[in-house]
């Protein structure tokens, strides 16, 4: 093959984007694949189960079959009201995943926006915004979420709000630090020289560069949010009875701890752990895939 033909062949290859490369690296990672499978499984359960098997928590009770051990009829046994634990876990996925994804989405959008504006505007806007973020970060996350829920009242929607407020500073900081590191670079100066307006520079040139750290942090943030919603549920501040939620189910199981009903304790917690593990693995995988420099192995 002539030299020119070789060059042509290379030139004819379809262009490989950064995201496509990252996707390949992600798919090649065994643990990341596992994490993705677990996360998708629970998301599908959360969407399909309430749709395919409509469930009315208010009328669900079977007092004849209270606290039955796992059997062929009830694969994960029944709880103190004779409700099928497996069904409650599947129905409860909606609460955990919904709040996890919802809270992180809100926090990502608001946080990124705040961070971008703050870093780009600089001066006193930056000072004030980052001061507010510092104050929010001065509280341990769960404590602040508990305080917010104590303030606005318990419930699933309020927990979602509380968890998103608590996670805003993380994304604001990431977005801001990308802006600060890019603001002085040539391509931004070039864009400004050709007369691009600030918004365009911010959203078309700077913002895409903060996407990958935010994506990684967001995925790991879903895991944290699911743990937090479970903790609020466990403390009786999240989802209220009789509606199913994993943390609240665990709180109910405490009363039956001494009676040996291990299944009401084991399975809801296992569901939480598995979901959180899934998002953690996926997040770790994304980090390795998006930033090859950080790879250890």
């Amino acid at each position: 093959m002539s030299h020119q033909a070789q060059v042509d062949q290379v030139l004819l290859r379809p262009p490989r984007s950064l995201w496509r490369d990252a996707w390949r690296r992600l798919i090649a990672n065994r643990l990341a694949r596992l994490g993705m499978a677990i996360s998708i499984f629970f998301i599908v359960v959360a969407i399909l189960v309430p749709f395919a098997f409509p469930y009315d928590a208010k009328i669900d009770s079977d007092l004849v079959n209270q606290l039955m051990a796992p059997s062929s009829q009830h694969l994960m046994g029944t709880d103190e009201q004779g409700r099928d634990v497996l069904n409650r876990i599947a129905q409860g996925a909606q609460a955990s995943l919904g709040v996890g994804l919802g809270a992180v989405s809100i926090a990502v959008v608001l946080g990124t926006l705040l961070g971008l504006v703050s870093g780009f505007a600089g001066k006193w806007i930056d000072l004030v915004m980052m001061f507010v973020m510092d104050i929010l970060l001065a509280f341990p996350g769960l404590l602040l979420a508990i305080a917010v829920v104590a303030l606005i009242g318990p419930g699933l929607r309020n927990s979602l709000l509380a968890i998103s407020v608590v996670s805003i500073p993380v994304y604001a900081r990431i977005a801001r630090s990308t802006v600060l590191s890019l603001k002085e670079q040539e391509f931004v100066t070039a864009a400004r020289c050709v007369g691009a307006p600030s918004q365009r520079i911010l959203f078309r040139h700077v913002f895409p560069n903060s996407l990958s750290p935010i994506l990684v942090q967001g995925t790991l943030g879903i895991a944290t949010a699911i743990l937090e919603i479970a903790a609020l549920g466990f403390l009786g501040l999240g989802q209220q009875p009789p509606y199913p939620e994993w943390g609240a189910m665990l709180a109910d199981s405490v009363k039956y701890l001494t009676s040996g009903a291990w299944w009401v304790l084991l399975f809801p917690g296992f569901a939480i752990m598995l979901t959180v593990l899934g998002f953690n693995l996926l997040g770790d995988g994304l980090r390795d895939a998006l930033d090859p420099r950080l790879r250890i192995d």
């Binding site: 001061f131 001065a138 341990p140 508990i146 466990f234 040996g260 752990m273």
Partner: protein
């Protein structure tokens, strides 16, 4: 160095003022009249007036804040509405229980996490490495209250080897000094109580310590791996030093810093976690007190404890920062 210290300490002051404003605003943000919310709809007008007076709700808002701030600076965090106890006094009484729990958890995390991380790094790819990293991965994904409940179920309910909760047996009439029971029992020479307190501490400390343990193990492993691949380690091996010496004297020293940072970062998690762990194990610390106060809507307690925990958190973070700067001369200030 000293200048950096002073500067760093001063950056914390505005944050603390902001924190106090937020916590102060907390009570005022409750929809409706705080006094009515706390006492319930059926409260008598006299009681409501009394609580309004006690909370200082009749004064202008800025004056209320300065009174709040002034009182807080003098160590007065208000009075519980329901039981009329000064909040500060209760915090002083209960906080040692939380400290004991948290220190126990840190100890568990360090004693297991660091050696596990080192061995995993040295024997990278071995079954020990695989298993411990698998445990670490599930450890960070576990809700600690669930882990706590499972520990209670297994060790207390099924095997009857450890107590289900509390700090001492109900029958114990031990008189604490500092309310750090392990210390107090030793001070009094009461070895029986010491063992009892230790048995009560074991499960909560393991439950609270698991997540930090997992994170510390992972961090130690990756920090060690990075150091072990460096030239001076090869040199040390080439000199014929024993494996043990190379790992402990040469590698570990330089792997310490990221590990210290991570330990510092765990403090917030431990304080949050203590709220959950204390609830599971009926541990009479400030975390469980906070949760109880939320149920009874005793807002001065919620306010006081939240402010207190935030101050502790900020203080610990500052200390870790300063320690870090002190421990690593390579860090440049400014």
């Amino acid at each position: 160095m000293l200048r950096y210290f002073i500067k760093r300490v001063f950056t914390v002051l505005p944050v603390l003022i902001g924190v106090s404003m937020l916590v102060f605003g907390f009570l005022r943000l409750i929809p409706g009249d705080p006094a009515t919310v706390m006492l319930g709809e059926r409260a008598t007008p006299e009681n409501i007036a009394r609580v309004r007076e006690q909370l200082g709700l009749n004064k202008p808002i800025y004056e209320q804040y300065f009174i709040f701030l002034g009182n807080a600076l003098r160590g007065d965090l208000g009075t519980s509405v329901l039981r009329q106890e000064p909040v500060t006094q209760e915090i002083v009484r209960r906080f040692p229980a939380t400290i004991e729990l948290t220190l126990g958890a840190i100890l568990v995390a360090l004693v297991v996490g660091i050696p596990a991380g080192i061995i995993s790094a040295v024997r990278r790819g071995s079954w020990f490495d695989t298993v411990s990293m698998l445990i670490a991965l599930t450890g960070v994904s576990m809700p600690i209250f669930w882990l706590g409940l499972m520990l209670v179920f297994f060790f207390a309910v099924s095997l009857h080897v450890l107590p289900t909760g509390g700090r001492l047996e109900a029958s114990s009439n031990f008189e604490p000094i500092t309310n750090l029971l392990l210390l107090d029992s030793l001070l009094r020479g009461d070895f029986g109580t010491f063992l009892q307190a230790l048995r009560h501490l074991a499960l909560p400390a393991i439950a609270l310590g698991t997540i930090p343990m997992a994170i510390i193990a992972r961090m130690t492993r990756s920090a060690m791996l990075e150091v072990l691949s460096q030239d001076y380690i090869r040199t040390a091996h080439a000199k014929g030093l024993k494996e043990r010496t190379v790992v402990i004297r040469h590698a570990l020293r330089n792997a310490w810093l990221p590990v210290i940072t991570v330990i510092g970062l765990q403090v917030g998690r431990l304080l949050s976690g203590a709220i959950l762990t204390e609830t599971v194990f009926s541990w009479p610390g400030i975390g469980r007190w906070l949760v109880d106060a939320i149920y009874t809507r005793d807002y001065p307690i919620v306010q006081g404890v939240t402010l207190f925990i935030a101050i502790v958190f900020v203080g610990v973070n500052l200390t870790v920062d300063l320690l870090y700067a002190w421990a690593d001369p390579r860090i440049k200030f400014e």
